[in-house]
């Protein structure tokens, strides 16, 4: 099957008057439909740049990004690949109600049809936010805000979800439950997801595949498939398995090796 997303030899540098800072160097990636991939790497290695390029907010300086084999997302409108992007912070607008916040994407793409709003109401109900739809975002807890942000992303029916450390602003306890919660939602809907994180445990509890990036300029250093016999419903149980320990140690070795040799 054709991968939903592939990167071929993608490089990117930031430029200013003092010189250029290479951020990504010859990245090759393939992501298959329906998979949940995590990208980990040392902080500041260019992970967010990678997402911006995939989302089409930045154009790669070298190489190309293929969406279902096409070189541009809008190349053929029928097969246009929709990308949902969840940023580090939820950025729910305080001057809008929760409902007005989650329909933002539909509003921007002029697709506020009855079908779509029904879908939003269903999502609000599914994620336990229906009773809060007319509240201000400040009245929600951290976990609820993150779920509202997920609904805002899902509202436009994305085929590929980009998650840029969406749990890093949460406290540890909320983070465990919300990340498992959101990963389950994504799995149930069969969406493809690309999660960026600096938290190794998060990467190996949530993802089927972990991609390790090297230090800046980032290149793909190692890819690892993750599988648990017991499934993934319970993040705490997953963290107790021997497989989890093994994965964690392997990943740790790859990452620390990077630091000593670089």
């Amino acid at each position: 099957m054709q991968p939903i997303l592939s990167l071929r030899d993608v490089s990117y540098s930031y430029h200013n008057l003092k010189g250029e800072t290479p951020a990504l160097s010859h990245i090759n990636l393939q992501i298959s439909e329906g998979s949940f991939v995590a990208v980990v790497g040392p902080s500041g290695c260019g992970k967010s740049t990678l997402l911006s390029i995939i989302a089409g907010l930045l154009a790669p300086e070298e190489g190309e990004v293929l969406y279902r084999g096409l070189s541009s997302r809008d190349y053929c409108p029928d097969s246009a690949l929709k990308i949902g992007y969840m940023l580090q912070r939820d950025h729910l607008f305080e001057w809008r109600t929760v409902y007005q916040n989650v329909i933002l994407g539909l509003e921007l793409t002029h697709s506020l049809t009855e079908e779509n709003t029904d879908y939003i109401l269903k999502l609000l109900e599914d994620y336990g936010l229906y009773g809060f739809k007319d509240k201000k975002p400040s009245e929600l807890s951290g976990g609820m805000r993150q779920r509202a942000a997920l609904i805002r992303t899902m509202a436009v029916h994305p085929d590929l979800l980009l998650l840029d450390e969406p749990f890093s602003a949460l406290d540890f306890q909320t983070r465990l439950s919300v990340s498992a919660d959101i990963a389950n939602i994504i799995r149930q809907t069969g969406k493809t997801a690309l999660l960026i994180t600096h938290d190794l445990s998060e990467a190996i509890t949530l993802a089927d595949r972990v991609i390790v990036l090297s230090r800046r300029p980032a290149g793909v250093k190692r890819e690892m498939s993750i599988h648990y016999e017991i499934g993934r419903e319970d993040p705490l149980a997953v963290r107790g398995t021997a497989a989890y320990q093994t994965y964690f140690n392997q990943l740790w070795e790859v990452l620390t090796d990077d630091k000593t040799t670089a």
């Binding site: 907010l57 580090q88 950025h91 305080e94 001057w95 809008r96 933002l104 994407g105 921007l108 436009v156």
Partner: protein
């Protein structure tokens, strides 16, 4: 000054009651102090004028001012002059608000335009606008137009700069969110920049109303036959100090009313969001 909606009040502890009482007492004391200061000032002024410590021909007196104000109301000149000044101030304030919003939006939209215009804006903002007034008279004649433009010229450049600076300080991640959801730069403007800048716009309006009034009075000094600024200049020329000081006091009242109006708009906004 709590504005919570009245639900069934939770039981209040003795300490909380004490705190509330102390808080109210403090507020009463402040209000009382303010009135006392005003009364003291007026009383001293009146006594000094009555006992001849100061010459009431030059310094007027509270009773003289009241008398003159009554006379102005009876012969309707109060309404004519105050009305003219009010109209000119509101017109120039309205123009400043609308034009500076438009200009700041345009500058935000066109980065290179703002870079090109920056030094000019800085110079125009720093220029003492009263220096422009004679020029305005030559160009626009004496009358309402000149005065409204004078009010406009005092406030607009500062307002553009502060709005534009505020627009640029909005979290770029919020605009990025708009782009990730498929929005354009125009969407970023209407969905993020403008709504998130409402508090800034309100606070710049507070400054603008004061500056518009300053510009209008300067304009009336130089180019008017009506209005409070004209009364002040005319009164000083014919040594009618009652007229001058009464006009100044009416100006104080106008400034205060405008300020309070915008402040209550601010309170309304804060309560709503």
């Amino acid at each position: 000054m709590t504005r919570q909606p009245h639900k069934t009040p939770p039981p209040v502890s003795a300490q909380q009651e004490n705190f509330l009482r102390a808080h109210h007492r403090h507020h009463h004391r402040i209000t009382l102090g303010r009135f006392f200061l005003l009364l003291l000032f007026l009383g001293l002024w009146e006594t000094a004028a009555a006992l001849g410590w100061i010459d009431s021909f030059f310094f007027s007196s509270p009773s003289g001012i009241l008398q003159y104000l009554g006379q102005m109301i009876v012969d309707h000149s109060f309404f004519a002059h105050t009305g003219v000044t009010l109209f000119e101030t509101i017109a120039s304030f309205f123009l400043v608000t609308v034009l500076s919003l438009l200009a700041a939006t345009l500058l935000w939209y066109q980065n290179s335009l703002s870079e090109i215009l920056e030094p000019y804006l800085v110079v125009l903002n720093a220029l003492p606008k009263s220096a422009l007034a004679p020029l305005l008279i030559v160009w626009l004649g004496t009358g309402t137009n000149t005065i409204i433009v004078a009010g406009l010229s005092v406030a607009i450049f500062g307002s553009i700069i502060s709005l534009y600076t505020g627009f640029c300080q909005v979290d770029p991640e919020m605009c990025k969110l708009i782009y990730t959801l498929g929005g354009s730069r125009k969407d970023a403007l209407t969905k993020v920049i403008l709504p998130s800048s409402v508090p800034l716009i309100l606070s710049s309006m507070k400054v603008n109303i004061g500056l518009s009034l300053v510009g209008v009075i300067i304009g009336e000094f130089l180019a008017a036959r009506r209005g409070l600024g004209y009364l002040i200049i005319y009164g000083s020329q014919v040594f009618q100090l009652n007229m001058v000081i009464t006009s100044i006091i009416i100006l104080c009242a106008i400034a205060m009313v405008f300020y309070k109006l915008i402040q209550s708009a601010e309170h309304y906004y804060k309560k709503k969001y």
